[in-house]
């Protein structure tokens, strides 16, 4: 009895009066109560979380790699198939295979060279077919074939380095520690267009220069390689990444690739700081000799093995790459990313969008909207409260589901023999929290659409078609690359770019495909596009709500 009598004045003096006075807190509380007490909506959020986790775990765990090291040997699977995976100084997984004509350099010094010619050859790939086995290489350079000079901490794969190089399609570059890349002189090397390269070591600092004549030098960049030992290896290098032709066959793409090699001819090679008359030794780091030579590499001056020296002219041929490993099929071993485990978020998003749209439209169906607006005449505030509640619930749901999916998914990927490309902790947080934020903003978008359209089915369809479908069509190559990129820049689907954990390294050729973790926009720019769409929908909803009779 006492409880009953007490509860009536309390609600009158509390929530009701405060709402009438314009307090936003009680309004938020009443919207939260509406959400919490509709069982179907709570179930919808649980379903969203379950779908997110399970679809994510499927995406992370369905790979089944197997291999056979010798024709009659045992069939291995999972981790046993993985080759040695080098890691760079920054902790990232890297490719580090190249042919290296080197000599030790102790203390400070300079290496200078003139690139006389730069040619290459790659596997013969015809339309729709892979490299023909046993077929000879055809002349041609990959865009990121590269030859030049390098100063490297040691001969171990993954050790620190700085290099000046000419490339197949991107001019002169200075690259260092796998991820660093600075442009120098543009254009290709030819007799009419000669290139001189220089690297100078001073303590931990290495400076790269380029020149067209050997007298006028331009500084390309200066890098600091912390902890560089007193004696490093300096010399010529040549490498060339796998030559790939992507057939986007609209509904599934296939990458046809084969090896390629690059050959540089060098002259006027001078090294200051080494013992006079030191011999050049050749080693194929990471099996980076010419195509067709074994992983043991080559020895100096033995024909096709990759390095010759005659009368001050040096010819060096190599294959492989010195670059970060990026997701996708080109790396030679199965790679995985942390965001792969978040694939389920797309399906969770569908459930969240349904609940969020109904959160507003249900008011119209039951006529509750008139009660709601009578209690809180400020319609914009009602919309804001609903958006905050729906967005907040979606965020928490996404955060819980995403954390579980990534934690378990990465474990699955590791255990079935994929190499999960490591990323800094901050990036991992951005990916997981960002995915939750995408779900939250999508929920806000759906609430606003529901307020504008008053019909839940139409609101749900628009939200799903604009957020999920563009991603899906681009991921499945339903569009040619140009159109697909613009879809992912302009539609609300752009927000998913926040899931990208491995940057789009300019020095690695890769196609934009969100399924392997590439988006055309930077992470937060894409997220801003989604937010802009949600904001526009909210503004429209406020205008419509104010003008229209409830």
């Amino acid at each position: 009895m006492t409880a009953d009598t007490r509860s009536i004045p309390r609600s009158g003096a509390g929530a009701g009066a405060a709402a009438a006075r314009g307090g936003f807190g009680p309004l938020l509380h009443s919207e939260w109560t509406k959400f919490r007490t509709v069982r179907g909506w709570v179930i919808g959020m649980v379903v969203a979380a379950i779908l997110t986790v399970f679809v994510g775990l499927f995406a992370a765990g369905n790979a089944n790699s197997s291999c056979q090291n010798s024709p009659n040997g045992p069939v291995l699977s999972g981790k046993a198939c993985l080759p040695y995976i080098p890691h760079g100084p920054g902790g990232e997984v890297v490719s580090d295979s190249f042919n290296f004509a080197h000599q030790p350099l102790t203390g400070n010094g300079t290496i200078t060279v003139r690139v006389l010619s730069f040619t290459g050859a790659h596997a013969n790939i015809t339309n729709g077919h892979g490299a023909e086995v046993g077929s000879s290489l055809v002349p041609g350079l990959a865009a990121w074939s590269k030859v030049g000079i390098i100063i490297k901490q040691s001969l171990h794969q993954g050790s620190a380095y700085a290099a000046m190089m000419v490339t197949g399609g991107h001019g002169v570059r200075m690259q260092y520690d796998y991820t660093g890349d600075t442009a120098g002189l543009p254009g290709k090397v030819s007799a009419a267009n000669p290139r001189w390269l220089r690297l100078t070591r001073s303590g931990d600092t290495i400076t790269g220069y380029d020149s067209t004549d050997g007298t006028h030098w331009t500084r390309v960049g200066t890098v600091t390689l912390t902890g560089l030992p007193a004696t490093v290896q300096a010399g010529l290098f040549a490498t060339s990444p796998a030559y790939t032709v992507t057939n986007s066959s609209f509904g599934g793409n296939s990458n046809n690739g084969g090896p390629s090699q690059a050959t540089g001819v060098f002259g006027d090679l001078t090294v200051s700081g080494t013992a006079a008359g030191a011999k050049w030794a050749d080693v194929a780091v990471g099996g980076g000799g010419p195509v067709g030579t074994g992983p043991g590499g080559s020895s100096a001056g033995s024909g096709p093995a990759g390095f010759t020296e005659a009368g001050g002219t040096y010819t060096l041929t190599g294959s492989g790459d010195i670059a970060p490993v990026t997701p996708g099929p080109d790396s030679g071993f199965p790679t995985a990313t942390i965001e792969q485990s978040l694939a389920g978020a797309f399906i969770g998003l569908i459930a969240i969008v349904v609940v969020a749209a109904m959160f507003f439209t249900a008011e119209y169906r039951r006529g509750l909207i008139r009660t709601t607006l009578a209690a809180t005449p400020r319609r914009g505030a009602v919309l804001a409260a609903k958006a905050i509640v729906a967005g907040g619930v979606a965020f928490v749901t996404g955060l819980v589901a995403g954390t579980v999916a990534v934690a378990v998914g990465v474990h699955l990927e590791n255990s079935n023999g994929q190499v999960v490309l490591p990323v800094p902790a901050l990036t991992e947080i951005r990916v997981v929290v960002g995915t939750a934020a995408v779900l939250a903003i999508a929920a806000v978008f759906a609430v606003a659409l529901g307020a504008v359209l008053r019909r839940s089915a139409a609101a749900v369809t628009i939200a799903i078609v604009t957020v999920v479908l563009p991603f899906l069509l681009v991921a499945l190559n339903a569009f040619p690359p140009g159109v697909g990129d613009w879809l992912l820049r302009l539609t609300p689907a752009a927000g998913l770019a926040i899931e990208q954990s491995i940057p789009n390294y300019p020095q690695v050729a890769s196609t934009i495909n969100p399924a392997v973790g590439y988006y055309p926009t930077p992470p937060f720019a894409g997220f801003a596009v989604l937010c802009a769409w949600a904001a526009a929908a909210l503004v429209l909803a406020v205008c419509v709500l104010r003008r229209r009779d409830a």
């Binding site: 089944n64 339309n127 609209f250 694939a343 019909r455 369809t461 078609v465 899906l472 159109v483």
Partner: protein, 277 residues
């Protein structure tokens, strides 16, 4: 005069078979509300619009090898059009529940399977007509635009024309595909009844498997998904090049979608019969 005519009318209608009456009633419902008309128009416009955009943005520069299936490219818009078709089908069922009209419908026509069948026939009929217009527009766009973008017969690309057998199969198949999507949506909507949840479930069924396919790295799973999921298998009907390399034959793929639609329709019909309206 007019009074006598009106007095005769119900008499005439009731003399017809109940199936015909149900069809007529469902046709009237769809014809006299503005929503379905707009959605059908939207299907046509969105499908053709997206197809034209896809075709218009695709070029095959001289000297490059383009692994493009011109017919499939011309029919890209179906991916979007199917969402509108699903919405139309879902609303046909769910609007009756949300307005309470379903009780009137079942009072007038107690045989629920007949009502459901009549709804399915009317919706699918309209979808097929709209789908035919949409597909025709898309094919014409491909036919007119693609040769100018480097997709010429001289370079080994077939013309996007209904006179070419595989293109005809893809075109007819795409129209049927839309019809089957409508049936699948009707079945699910009859089970779920709420419009928002229904359209969410339908779109999840349409898009879930392609998303999983996009992330599937195991070839075993890729093949399973390409063979047995409604949208992925169903859309193989659009393939005109490399048909031998497909996981399932074009008509087989459409058959898989038909199987899904049939099961959904059957389940929807049973639930409709057993449950209180």
């Amino acid at each position: 005069m007019s009074a006598t005519v009106q007095a005769h009318r119900p008499d005439q209608v009731s003399r017809a078979a109940p199936q015909v009456n149900a069809l007529h009633a469902e046709w009237t419902k769809l014809r006299t509300t503005s929503g379905p008309g707009w959605l059908l128009l939207g299907t046509v416009a969105l499908t053709i619009g997206v197809s034209v955009a896809a075709v218009g943005a695709t070029h095959c520069p001289a000297g490059m090898q383009c692994a493009v299936d011109p017919t499939k490219l011309s029919l890209t818009g179906i991916q979007f059009g199917q969402a509108v078709v699903a919405l139309l089908a879902v609303l046909t069922i769910c609007n009756e529940y949300s307005t309470g009209m379903i009780r009137v419908t079942f009072t007038a026509m107690p045989r629920r399977d007949v009502v459901f069948a009549a709804k399915a026939i009317v919706v699918v009929g309209l979808v097929l007509v709209a789908g035919a217009l949409a597909v025709l527009g898309s094919v014409v766009a491909g036919h007119l635009i693609l040769p100018g973008h480097g997709f010429t017969a001289a370079r080994g690309f077939h013309a996007v024309s209904l006179a070419y057998g595989p293109t005809l199969r893809a075109a007819v198949g795409s129209v049927l595909y839309l019809g089957l999507i409508a049936l699948l949506s009707l079945g699910l909507a009859a089970m779920i009844r709420d419009s928002a949840v229904s359209i969410g479930a339908v779109l999840a069924v349409l898009y879930l498997f392609p998303i999983i396919l996009a992330f599937a790295t195991s070839t075993t799973w890729q093949r399973r998904l390409e063979r047995w999921t409604p949208t992925v298998a169903g859309l193989t009907i659009q393939a005109t090049t490399g048909v031998r390399g497909l996981a399932i034959s074009p008509w087989g793929g459409l058959g898989v979608l038909a199987l899904w639609a049939g099961v959904a329709l059957l389940a929807g019909g049973i639930v409709l019969r057993l449950r209180d309206a």
